[in-house]
């Protein structure tokens, strides 16, 4: 009862792994697939290898984590080998792969997109990472740059392209408008919320990058509001992400307008099979309320 179709891709369920969690290697993706996710989103992959920021790159805060990994990845060529090493296993389990990619400009985005296209089912454009200067949110806070990147990638690939948006903007609808106009097939909301933690005994910010992105329960209301606004204004499918720990959380996102959801920090709090658990909880709710998955998408708007 959880099968869904987004942009012509069939997913066995709407609970995906969010980018940035585990997905550094092929075998990590496979492990998550075994945990019951409908799709796995890779770490964000760029043109060249990138070690990311120095540690500390993550610290727990009330209601979640603050992280500034800094987009570590081995570069798209080597990462394709990672995907290839587990592609068959994932196919056997019916788990889709969404390739998250980043770049400093449309040229880099295009190059990575072209290279990765034949190894993934869809592409997610990371124009929202809050802690990698010149990348991510540097683009996604600017409607024009966002448009250019999305239009460029849409030009060169045939598979569906999603744009992952940052909540750290005055008006998410403005940015979404630009990327929808550029032709993206779906929206992913939200990336992390920028924040900082200072250790008062060390008298220093804990993260080596000083600030980072907040994830986890703390940001769920921020994500719900973003998805709600996107659903009110656009007709493309929305994938909700931000603080989803349970089936109830996933349903809240769906009622706000999400067709599917992604889980990140939830992996820490409920284990690698959090996907299976959330799917079970969604099923229970649907049965109890005698509703279908399709019916709950956007239900709170009616």
């Amino acid at each position: 009862m959880l099968e869904i179709d987004i942009c012509g891709i069939k997913f066995k369920n709407p609970v995906f792994l969010a980018s940035g969690i585990m997905g550094e290697t092929g075998s990590a993706l496979k492990r998550i697939a075994k945990g019951g996710s409908g799709a796995v989103v890779t770490k964000s992959v760029g043109l060249y290898p990138n070690p990311g920021h120095k540690n500390p790159t993550i610290v727990e805060v009330y209601g979640g984590f603050l992280n500034a990994m800094g987009l570590p990845n081995p570069g798209v060529d080597e990462y394709i080998e990672e995907i290839k090493s587990v592609k068959k296993d994932l196919e056997k389990m019916g788990v889709r792969v969404i390739g998250s990619i980043y770049g400093k400009d449309e040229k880099e985005f295009m190059d990575v997109a072209k290279k990765i296209e034949s190894f993934v089912d869809a592409i997610e454009l990371n124009i929202s990472c809050p802690h990698a200067k010149g990348y991510g949110a540097t683009i996604g806070q600017n409607p024009e740059m966002s448009y250019n990147v999305c239009a460029a990638v849409k030009d060169v690939v045939k598979i569906p392209v999603f744009a992952k948006l940052t909540p750290n903007v005055s008006d998410i609808v403005e940015i979404a408008g630009a990327v929808v106009e550029a032709g993206v097939d779906g929206l992913v909301a939200i990336n992390t919320v920028r924040g900082m933690v200072i250790d008062i005994k060390a008298k220093k910010p804990i993260l080596s990058n000083k600030f980072g992105g907040l994830s986890g329960k703390a940001i769920k209301p921020v994500g719900i509001k973003a998805v709600w606004d996107l659903y009110e204004n656009f007709d493309v499918p929305i994938i909700g992400v931000g603080g989803i720990m349970s089936g109830e959380d996933a349903i809240e996102y769906m009622m706000a307008g999400a067709s599917a959801v992604q889980v990140g920090s939830g992996v820490y709090y409920r284990g690698y099979n959090v996907f299976k658990k959330i799917c079970d909880e969604i099923c229970s709710f649907l049965k109890e309320e005698n509703l279908t998955l399709k019916e709950i998408v956007g239900l709170a708007h009616r």
């Binding site: 075998s27 993706l29 120095k54 540690n55 993550i58 220093k204």
Partner: protein, 257 residues
């Protein structure tokens, strides 16, 4: 809450030309083989095994450890942990094989196990005599066999050669090991030949330390060294195909041994 606890360094002991032990002002309830993420504000954060409930013993091998060696008594470090799996005491007679800085988790295990009346033989190896770690501590709680690469003390040669020699004459219920991965791979092979269960403490580049970032995931099953490890039983190790072959750097690129 997974965030560093700021501790003060009470005492610094020079164990060898390259290794210092940092004793801090706080006790951690760790199990032998577990590690903590040590944070030097402004520098970096790296995983280190406990050398006792309130100390870490650190070899100078790179920038971070160089900075650690520059610390003075009264300085602070952040400690996040204890994390990960640990050496489990099973059987009556255990062989411990430690190479270089791998002596850190092994000494804590040997000390802990000996309290339970387990009979332990330790093979302790290092490049040369002055790099041998925790000689007194090992001698107090186990039969100690010493190896040096240059023969400056004890047996001249690798720990694994000594291990083969000993296993020809004696039978052990369990083997535990920590040291260079190439050495540990041989220890595992020898243990398998003798059909003796083995526990191995692995090392990988780590970021989160709590099983979510995926940095230390090992092939082919995506086990996390930080969470499913660092101590693995031989059975599970069979699913770590990269063991003894390659590891990944900070970017996730493979680096072959």
């Amino acid at each position: 809450m997974e965030k560093p606890v700021i501790c003060k360094i009470k005492e610094i002991i020079k164990e060898s030309p390259t290794v210092k032990t940092f004793i801090i002002d706080r006790d951690f309830d760790f199990k032998p083989g577990q590690f903590a993420m040590l944070w030097l504000p402004g520098v970096d954060e790296k995983p280190f095994g406990f050398s006792s409930k309130n100390s870490f013993s650190v070899a100078k091998v790179g920038y971070f450890t160089k900075k650690m060696h520059e610390l003075k008594e009264g300085d602070i470090i952040g400690v996040r942990g204890p994390y990960g799996t640990y050496f489990e005491p099973i059987g009556d007679k255990i062989l411990a094989v430690a190479g270089g800085i791998g002596a850190v988790p092994i000494i804590t295990a040997v000390e802990d196990f000996s309290k339970q009346g387990i009979e332990i033989t330790t093979i302790l190896g290092a490049r040369s005599k002055d790099e041998l770690l925790f000689l007194d501590r090992f001698e107090k709680v186990s039969r100690l066999e010493i190896c040096t690469d240059d023969g400056s003390f004890g047996f001249k040669g690798f720990t694994t050669e000594k291990m083969k020699e000993i296993l020809k004459e004696e039978r052990f219920d369990l083997i535990i090991t920590c040291g260079p991965e190439i050495m540990m791979k041989k220890v595992v092979d020898i243990s398998n030949e003798h059909n003796i269960p083995v526990q191995v403490s692995m090392e990988r580049y780590m970021k989160c330390g709590i099983g979510i970032c995926g940095q230390c995931c090992v092939d082919d099953e995506g086990l996390c060294v930080c969470k499913d490890g660092p101590v693995f039983w031989g059975d599970k190790l069979k699913f770590i195909k990269e063991f003894g072959k390659y590891k990944r750097d900070a970017s996730g690129k493979k680096v072959y041994y």
